[in-house]
């Protein structure tokens, strides 16, 4: 990306463009975030009128909170395990749809439809599908002679069942994003490559992927950030179970803030620890994928 010369005439121009968004952002994101940071150093509780400064007590308590550690491990496991399926499946579908297929609208709509459902609907549907007694998957597998397992009640398979559910749910949206990116790649490049004798696989790697890089990076970073904050579908599908096998950080945080203890200060501390962890991960990703992209 060639550097732009600063627009001398309108040195304020960038700031004018940014102003509306930044006002919104500063007031409704930054200010509550900073207040949350402040609260993480207090013993704030919902319902308690005053809070007192307690220094790093909330953070230190996290060192002893084994359930917090378990939830961090679970969240990291989910993030890493889900990355390939959630990134690759929509990409494959997008490339296929971008080629010469008929019935594009139906296909796009079909894959996108799950994304229109709320997390509760998705959870209830898959709970029924995977139910070990009355669920269709159980019924058909049993009919096929496969030994019946309770996917969501087995610590070894619960997280994977959640990943499958999530792939079903969000693929449609990443598909749309990939398609938007693929649209920007000129057809002529593929035609030229075909004339030169390059096959589909080769042109994918030498044309599609490089030109899709900013989009791919966006999808990757957004997915990682989102995975670290996964909550909704886990809460509905397993409520963190069996035991604490699928308990995630945000669930632990949510329960600390809004259910068991209403300890808002402690929950804020958890959020900021999570923030630091995600930040480190994201910086690593940016570095790794910097490569030839314009920054």
């Amino acid at each position: 990306m060639k550097p732009r010369r600063a627009l001398r005439r309108g040195a304020f121009t960038p700031y004018l463009f940014l102003a509306p968004g930044l006002v919104l952002f500063a007031l409704f994101r930054v200010y509550p975030l900073l207040e949350g940071l402040w609260l993480s150093f207090t013993n704030a509780r919902l319902g308690r009128a005053q809070q007192t400064f307690v220094g790093a007590a909330n953070y230190l308590r996290l060192l002893d909170d084994t359930r917090f550690h378990v939830s961090l491990v679970n969240t990291a496991y989910y993030t890493i395990a889900s990355t390939v399926p959630i990134l690759a499946v929509p990409l494959v579908l997008a490339v296929a749809l971008n080629r010469g297929v008929a019935l594009k609208t139906f296909l796009r709509g079909a894959f996108f439809f799950p994304f229109t459902l709320s997390v509760v609907t998705v959870g209830l549907t898959w709970l029924w599908l995977l139910d070990p007694v009355i669920g269709p998957s159980t019924y058909y597998l049993r009919a096929a002679g496969v030994p019946v397992r309770s996917w969501l009640a087995d610590p070894g398979t619960a997280m994977w069942a959640i990943i499958v559910t999530t792939v079903w749910w969000v693929t449609g949206y990443y598909l749309v994003i990939y398609l938007a990116g693929l649209q920007d790649i000129p057809r002529e490049l593929y035609e030229a490559a075909a004339i030169d004798g390059a096959g589909g696989w080769r042109s994918f790697w030498s044309i599609t992927m490089p030109l899709l890089r900013p989009v791919f990076l966006f999808v990757l970073v957004t997915h990682v950030i989102g995975s670290f904050q996964i909550f909704g579908q886990v809460f509905v599908l397993t409520n963190g179970g069996p035991g604490d096998a699928t308990r995630t950080v945000v669930q632990h945080l949510y329960e600390t803030a809004f259910q068991n203890f209403f300890h808002f200060g402690a929950a804020s501390a958890m959020a900021w620890v999570l923030f630091v962890i995600i930040l480190v991960f994201s910086l690593l990703q940016f570095r790794l994928l910097r490569g030839h992209t314009q920054y």
């Binding site: 319902g47 139910d131 070990p132 007694v133 009355i134 309770s150 009640a153 069996p242 604490d244 259910q259």
Partner: protein, 423 residues
């Protein structure tokens, strides 16, 4: 009567007159001759129960002229919202909550105490109520709530499943178990293929704490020791219950997996004996399931039945509007007087004694069974840490249920975690 009301003398006078009038008779009176206030009312009675509550509220409004603006929110979210809204003075005039939530809301200053003279002036007396429900509204010697009804456990018996297992008499009536040995024996006979004999809990039997508490109480154990300070879960009686909890799926193999939907399994004819809440039976009737309601069997020493009464409370306000408070009291009074309607339509037995002899109620087999359990009713302990303790109990008993952890070690760990709960 609150002393913090703004001094609108006409309201005070009329409010005082209304109190005086109520003291003389037990019938609800109009609080004032002015326009009736509209009061806000939050509760968690979503689903089918909510519609019946709507009908009753409409009737209340027709009779008294007091309008009610209801917000119905699923229980867990309701409590979160209450905790956020009341300190910001955005709470409702009246809230229906569970008994076990009273201690921690009261201790957090979310609820306003009810002055005894006012309570009895409104016609609420101890002798009219069953002791466990009357006591449930108290915390540290003060009253914060008045009970409405008593959701409780019941043994549902699937007639078709038992018949197919050969457990029905010549008259077609299923053989109902009353002790643990009978339950185990019959459940083992039922369990075959994809059909299970016995389960406790609506969904996720593995972490159904309400069922676990029921069993604890049947064995004379409890979450906290009598002093409400230390956990009683490392006691032998509690460990015995935990061992049974782990045995029903792993050892006896009569129970479905930890995350099964027991209610749906029962409806689909895949579950024979089911201990679950009384709130399920109206849904079973809608789904046209052939079932019989029986008392909760005695699985351990005593035949205790778990209950969790709904309680009316007044969330705190920065400044109490006397007319609205009176209107809220009027609603509580009216609902208590009409609780037989609630029982008949929603299937929740009243906390008041009087309707228990109503022939319409005793004529319904399920309601009769529920009433019959009244002597065995028990409810959660009055400590603000009850709900927090319950929340950390869930994953641990689930681990015991799936056989991932031995009962004694799990209970010891749980007791330790409960003891470590901050105040």
């Amino acid at each position: 009567m609150s002393k913090r009301t703004p001094s609108l003398s006409r309201r005070r006078f009329l409010g005082g007159a209304a109190l005086g009038a109520t003291a003389l008779s037990f019938r609800p009176r109009r609080a004032s001759a002015q326009a009736k206030p509209t009061i806000t009312y939050w509760n968690g009675l979503t689903g089918a129960d909510g519609k019946i509550m709507d009908e009753l509220i409409d009737q209340f409004t027709r009779e008294t002229g007091i309008r009610m603006e209801q917000q119905r929110i699923v229980w867990a979210d309701l409590y979160a919202k209450l905790q956020v809204a009341v300190p910001a003075d955005e709470g409702p005039d009246l809230a229906l909550i569970h008994t076990v939530e009273v201690p921690h809301f009261a201790s957090d200053g979310i609820l306003e105490p009810m002055v005894d003279s006012v309570t009895s002036a409104k016609g609420f007396k101890a002798e009219d109520y069953l002791p466990s429900t009357w006591q449930g509204g108290m915390y540290q010697g003060k009253r914060y709530a008045v009970a409405l009804d008593v959701p409780q456990h019941l043994l549902y018996v699937n007639v078709k499943v038992l018949k197919e297992a050969g457990l029905a008499g010549p008259d077609g009536k299923p053989k109902i178990p009353t002790t643990r040995d009978e339950v185990l024996a019959r459940a083992k006979q039922i369990t075959k293929g994809d059909t299970f004999g016995f389960a406790i809990g609506t969904t996720n039997p593995g972490r159904y704490t309400w069922g676990f508490h029921n069993l604890l109480w049947q064995n004379g154990a409890n979450v906290y020791a009598a002093d409400l300070k230390k956990s009683g879960l490392s006691e032998p009686a509690a460990i015995e219950v935990a061992e049974f909890w782990g045995a029903i799926q792993n050892q006896h193999k009569i129970a479905p997996p930890a995350n099964a939907n027991c209610r749906d399994a029962f409806i689909a004819g895949k579950l024979g004996l089911w201990i679950a809440g009384s709130w399920n039976f109206t849904g079973l009737r809608d789904a046209k399931v052939e079932f019989v309601a029986a008392p909760v069997p005695r699985m351990f020493k005593q035949a205790v039945v778990w209950t969790m009464p709904h309680q009316f409370t007044f969330p705190k306000k920065k400044a109490v509007d006397a007319a609205k408070r009176d209107a809220a009291w009027a609603h509580v009074r009216w609902m208590s007087d009409h609780v037989a309607e609630w029982t008949l339509k929603a299937g929740q037995v009243s906390a008041l004694r009087k309707p228990h002899s109503d022939s319409r109620i005793t004529g319904d087999p399920v309601l009769r069974t529920l009433l019959g359990q009244a002597a065995s009713w028990q409810s959660g302990q009055a400590t603000p840490k009850w709900v927090a303790a319950e929340n950390i109990t869930r994953p641990i008993i689930e681990n015991v249920y799936i056989g991932q952890r031995p009962a004694a070690a799990a209970m010891g760990d749980l007791a330790k975690q409960i003891n470590a709960l901050p105040d």
